[in-house]
């Protein structure tokens, strides 16, 4: 599964209700309140396990996790080959 699809699916399953639409690539997640900054720990853990990376706490900011596109960019900092 491509990274965009995988992250989008995870955000939907983890944070949204069954009848909610999946987020778009640039839809704000944290600044819109869909994901609160405290709950984003599960997304960070998911990414670390899925891509076998370690995202330092100072990089795991609400801004860096605010859209699927930004999350993908963050993952690629540590796993450039990830698609």
């Amino acid at each position: 599964m491509a990274m965009e699809e995988m992250i989008t699916q995870y955000v939907k399953d983890e944070y949204l209700e069954d009848d909610d639409d999946a987020p778009g690539l640039d839809d704000p997640l944290i600044s819109s309140g869909i994901v609160d900054s405290f709950s984003m720990v599960s997304l960070k853990t998911f990414l670390e396990n899925k891509y076998d990376i370690k995202i330092p706490d100072d990089k795991a900011t609400p801004e860096a996790f605010d859209t699927v596109r930004k999350i993908m960019a963050l993952v690629r900092e540590y796993r450039p080959e990830a698609q």
């Binding site: 944070y15 819109s32 309140g33 609160d36 405290f38 709950s39 720990v41 599960s42 853990t45």
Partner: protein, 417 residues
């Protein structure tokens, strides 16, 4: 000068930003005792004469904040035991009445032991780090109170969250963390913004199945939820199965200040030995302890006040529903009137104030974006005529804004989110 112009302008810019976003909190001054009929100055500092209004936004659920018996007991405590302790508990700050109150709370909540804290905020700030280690995991409902979030941040244990009251999601998380040394499920008993109740019976079943402890903040429940008012654990039929409860003396239980951790005796003792807000802040003042001891006597002797609160809650919910307002479902004295749009919530609250009804509009980030509301709160001190007057006002203002009979989608279509 250490406080430079640059520093001043930075703060001014931040504060100005809050105002621009409509997030600047303005206090109203109450010129009377806390109660149902109060005198409120708003806006403040502009020479406006305090207005008589009915209070529908206090956590004064049992109407004990200014109850004559509680005030008299506090006076007596002040005379007998003085104003302050000038010490933390373990140096020279424990009077016999502190331990009496802890024992009364233990008996009322049907737990094993209790330790007082300066506030429930402090209890939640100190609990987790005192009883958990980096080998443990905290699993918290996503809508828990901010003080729990802060307490979890101060704790070295791992943490994760589950969707609000979603037991399937919680079960997945429990499965995910089965290798942790300890698991602690963390929830509010009654959620303060929505007024709904945690599914403690199902949570306890999952806790048994997956070997987890259960922690409940029952600040919006202690004293009135459950047939004897013991709290959410009583209402859900799980008395004795909650491992640790935190609650406050600042709401139904007299409304002054102070909180506690109550639960398994070893966990309570761990807090007494290790919880930093307990170790490093002053004892609860004798005057408050004396008042709270009287509160526990009153609510242990009779359920009259919680029974009246229950009647008021049902009457209020039925009245608002009949008027055509959109409510969050529930059966607690927290009754949110949903307006969805932040400006609408503020406008309706302001107009209600001028009708003599004191309520507050809540909006993002206090509640989710697009979920603005007026949170009404009932009290045993409300009488039927108070409720009838407020229902009349809500109907009048609801009609002014054309929202009576409208459901969520229709209100959003009319006013936006």
């Amino acid at each position: 000068m250490a406080y430079s112009d640059k520093a001043r302008s930075q703060y001014q810019e931040i504060l100005g930003g809050l105002s621009e976003k409509g997030l600047f909190k303005e206090e109203r001054y109450i010129h009377s005792m806390q109660g149902v009929e109060i005198e409120v100055e708003f806006p403040v500092g502009k020479g406006v004469k305090p207005a008589p209004v009915l209070n529908f936004c206090a956590n004064n659920y049992l109407g004990l904040s200014s109850h004559p018996d509680v005030v008299a007991a506090a006076h007596e405590g002040l005379g007998d035991r003085g104003y302050g302790m000038s010490s933390v508990r373990f140096i020279c700050g424990t009077q016999d009445i502190h331990r009496t109150l802890e024992n009364k709370l233990t008996s009322f909540l049907e737990t094993e032991d209790t330790v007082l804290f300066p506030s429930c905020m402090d209890a939640n700030a100190g609990l987790f780090e005192a009883v958990l280690t980096p080998d443990d995991v905290m699993l918290s409902d996503r809508l828990v109170h901010a003080s729990i979030v802060d307490g979890m941040k101060l704790c070295s244990a791992k943490y994760d969250t589950f969707k609000h009251s979603d037991m399937k999601h919680l079960e997945r998380k429990l499965q995910e963390f089965q290798t942790a040394r300890q698991r602690m499920i963390i929830t509010d008993g009654v959620f303060s913004m929505d007024g709904d109740t945690a599914k403690l019976d199902e949570i306890c079943e999952l806790a048994d199945k997956y070997d987890a402890m259960v922690m409940v903040d029952d600040s919006h429940a202690s004293g009135f939820i459950g047939k004897r008012g013991k709290g959410t654990h009583e209402a859900c039929g799980v008395l004795g199965r909650i491992d640790v409860i935190t609650t406050t003396l600042g709401k139904a239980l007299g409304g002054a200040s102070g909180g506690c951790v109550s639960g398994r005796k070893e966990m309570v003792e761990m807090c007494r030995q290790k919880a930093r807000p307990y170790l490093f802040s002053n004892s609860v003042a004798p005057v408050i302890v004396a008042g709270a001891n009287k509160v526990l006597d009153l609510i242990s002797a009779s359920t009259e006040r919680r029974d009246k609160l229950e009647w008021n809650t049902n009457y209020w919910r039925e009245g608002l529903t009949k008027a055509g307002l959109d409510l969050k479902a529930g059966n607690t004295p927290i009754v949110p009137v949903m307006l969805y749009n932040a400006k609408l919530a503020q406008d309706v609250a302001r107009d209600l104030f001028y009708e003599g009804i004191y309520v507050i509009g809540f909006f993002f980030p206090v509640v989710a974006n697009g979920a603005a509301r007026i949170r009404t709160q009932l009290s045993a001190a409300h009488d039927k005529h108070h409720l009838d007057k407020a229902l009349e006002a809500f109907t009048k203002i609801g009609d002014k804004y054309g929202i009576l009979g409208l459901k969520k989608d229709e209100i959003i279509a009319k006013y936006g989110m």
